[in-house]
């Protein structure tokens, strides 16, 4: 848990969002994250992210599935319990292709989805701070992490200058925690009281 202070700006047009994100990165402020209601192509590059290696993980899981199937079936039919099925050889590789293929796909898909959840830190019961109630609807949200020493006004003025709609300061948990979305968190109550 790490409660931090953020300067938050909203945008409604992708064409304004892209230059704004670039300006934030050039400005020296620490870009916490950009939240969008749908995938915006090219924003990952604009926000300074490298391409993901998720597909490489998928390939490795797939290979694991292939070797599990071939290894297991060949062990069963050549070592553990060889059987004569319709005169087929014990090492009947062509007959194992369907199961090998299915296990390759199964391992790759399940492994990738679990990796996806792990990397994104998402799981049933996980809660994260929602900076704007419409960030999943029609609003793009840029959050800048503000150190205690930084001027709130300067940061908000800077965000306004990038064409932001609403701007505000929020004190919030930066990471994820186990929680329910219908519950108000203590730090939210404290911020509201202040």
């Amino acid at each position: 848990m790490a409660i931090k202070k953020f300067a938050v700006a909203t945008y409604t047009d992708e064409a304004v969002l892209f230059p704004a994100v670039k300006k934030v990165r050039k400005s020296g402020y620490k870009l916490h994250d950009v939240y969008t209601p749908f995938a915006v192509h090219g924003l990952d590059v604009a926000a300074g992210h490298k391409t993901t290696d998720l597909h490489i993980a998928g390939f490795i899981y797939g290979i694991c599935g292939t070797s599990t199937a071939v290894g297991f079936i060949s062990w069963v039919y050549t070592a553990d319990w060889p059987q004569n099925y319709g005169g087929k050889p014990h090492f009947a590789l062509p007959a194992w292709i369907p199961i090998t293929f299915e296990l390759t796909v199964l391992f790759a898909a399940v492994g990738m989805v679990l990796t996806f959840c792990y990397l994104n830190q998402i799981m049933p019961g996980v809660k994260k701070h929602v900076f704007h109630p419409r960030q999943s609807d029609d609003t793009f949200v840029v959050a800048i992490e503000l150190p205690e020493s930084a001027s709130e006004k300067e940061a908000l003025d800077f965000l306004k200058s990038t064409g932001a709609g609403e701007t505000n300061i929020q004190v919030a948990e930066a990471s994820w925690w186990y929680g329910r979305f219908d519950k108000t968190e203590p730090y939210e109550l404290a911020a509201a009281g202040k």
Partner: protein, 497 residues
């Protein structure tokens, strides 16, 4: 303003005046409101069917499979017919979400969510048949390769029936993962909009805490693309393996190499018909005509006429091959199919699958909602008869004339089939009430390129000369540089570079 130009030859994928917020409102409305009376009636009726199915299956398990009409030669009756029928229907969803994604078909965004849901429910229904067909269903886990005290004795990995176990369970799992990963952002939207505590809590859990950061979206895109790449051969493999159940045997009528492509085409054919059945109703009842447009229905009807024709060619090829083989058994099997005591099933199949879909060559009929609905039912009836014809008319007369018999189902078999309709529609009604039936985030993604009001803004550009267009594009890019929307603004990009 940013130029996203798409030719007017392409119909808008989203009709009406929409912005991002309106899309959310339109699609989430049924979830936040109370369902209509039709929903309650339909849901109740589905539960009654499901209950009757449970009773029929319970009866068959208690008294044994002797309560079914299957006999010495027709060992696979209605149950395997229904299994193949449902699993075929379950092919459209993944075809739409995976293959059409790889082919960059924008229209899939309007229908993929409901089609994938249909796939998952259809596969659930299909799975019931081989499971309860085992008879001693409590020993069903014997199909799994686990270390056991019988040797260990392993299942037969060389058998298509075991391949089926792996194919269908993999297909179900991967379809479910693909579908659910797409649902996460939409659940997050419902959660963030929720006015009641319960809805916020439940959709909060269902959304896995998704917030839509840039990196999360980047991984989401990568995941969708790879899952689509994996599902494409998967969806083709599943019905191929189902067809191996027949094709690897030496029964006349089953023992043919044409089965895998013929089954896959038939699966797509019946799957799209079922998608049309559901979507014609869904778009009307939930008022989603602006998202599931006539253009969407037409696109699916085009696939129906294509796959229906492929199936037709396959039927004729089978007939040719049985004559060309000059094998007595093969020729007799097909002669009895056409003119034997089951002639009515063969001709029902031919009429529904081959003849009537040809009407979809007429554009007016392709775009007619009522005709589409009627045809979707006709095709599904035809495809049921296809599986009945393959299974029953190949086995009711075997090599020993003394064991020839006429097979008819008993009430337990019919009840079992009706029960799977109950299961299917119970799931679909719950889905239509509690899940966004259209992929909201994906619609928003294509909205600015393919929404009607956004396309109309581009009308002025249609008539410009190259030079005028170039200057217009330059002007629109004055305040910021190129940032990666390139694939959506092909024309603009071409002028830019």
């Amino acid at each position: 303003m940013h130029i996203k130009y798409e030719s007017f030859i392409r119909e808008p994928l989203v009709e009406g005046k929409k912005d991002y917020h309106q899309v959310s409102e339109d699609i989430v409305r049924p979830i936040e409101g109370k369902p209509g009376r039709m929903w309650y009636v339909g849901f109740f009726f589905s539960l009654v069917l499901l209950g009757y199915g449970l009773f029929s299956v319970g009866w068959a398990v208690y008294w044994g499979l002797g309560t079914w009409g299957v006999n010495r030669t027709v060992g696979w009756g209605w149950d395997i017919t229904n299994f193949v029928w449902w699993i075929g229907i379950g092919h459209a969803g993944t075809l739409i979400s995976a293959i059409l994604l790889l082919f960059r078909q924008g229209w899939r965004t309007g229908v993929n969510r409901a089609a994938e849901a249909m796939t998952i429910f259809a596969v659930m229904c299909a799975g019931q048949f081989p499971i309860w067909h085992m008879g001693r269903v409590w020993d069903g886990f014997f199909v799994l390769p686990y270390p056991n005290t019988r040797g260990p004795l392993w299942p037969n990995f060389d058998s298509p029936l075991l391949w089926d176990v792996f194919a269908i369970s993999t297909y179900f799992t991967v379809s479910l993962l693909f579908w659910y990963s797409g649902l996460l952002p939409d659940f997050a939207l419902i959660r963030d909009r929720a006015k009641t505590k319960l809805r916020k809590a439940l959709y909060g859990i269902a959304s896995f805490g998704w917030t839509g950061t840039v990196k999360n979206w980047q991984r989401h895109e990568a995941l969708s693309l790879v899952l689509a790449g994996l599902s494409t051969p998967l969806v083709l493999s599943v019905h191929t393996i189902v067809s191996f159940d027949f094709a690897t045997s030496v029964i006349p009528g089953w023992h043919t190499t044409i089965f895998p492509p013929y089954f896959v085409a038939g699966a797509v054919f019946s799957g799209f018909a079922m998608v049309n059945t559901l979507l014609v109703l869904t778009r009307r009842i939930l008022h989603l005509e602006e998202y599931i447009t006539i253009g969407h229905l037409e696109a699916m009807n085009k696939i129906i006429v294509l796959t229906g024709s492929i199936v037709g060619v396959a039927y004729l090829t089978e007939l040719f091959m049985s004559w060309y083989s000059q094998s007595w058994g093969e020729m007799a099997a097909f002669q009895w199919r056409i003119m034997g005591p089951y002639w009515w099933s063969y001709w029902a199949m031919m009429t529904c699958n081959v003849v009537s879909p040809q009407l979809f060559w007429i554009k007016k009929l392709r775009r007619n909602v009522i005709f589409t609905f009627v045809m979707s039912i006709v095709v599904n009836i035809g495809m049921w008869f296809e599986r009945f014809v393959i299974i029953v008319t190949s086995t009711y007369r075997d090599w020993v004339p003394g064991s020839w018999a006429y097979y008819s189902p008993t009430w337990t078999e019919v009840g079992f089939y009706l029960g799977t309709f109950g299961l299917f529609f119970t799931c679909y009604f719950l889905f239509a009430k509690y899940f966004p039936v259209i992929a909201i985030a994906e619609i928003k993604f294509v909205l600015k390129g393919s929404g009607r009001n956004f396309k109309e803004k581009m009308i002025g550009y249609q008539d410009m000369s190259d030079e005028q267009f170039y200057h217009a594009v330059e002007a629109s890019h004055d305040d910021h540089d190129d940032h990666g929307h390139s694939e959506e603004k092909v024309a603009a990009g071409a002028a830019h570079h």
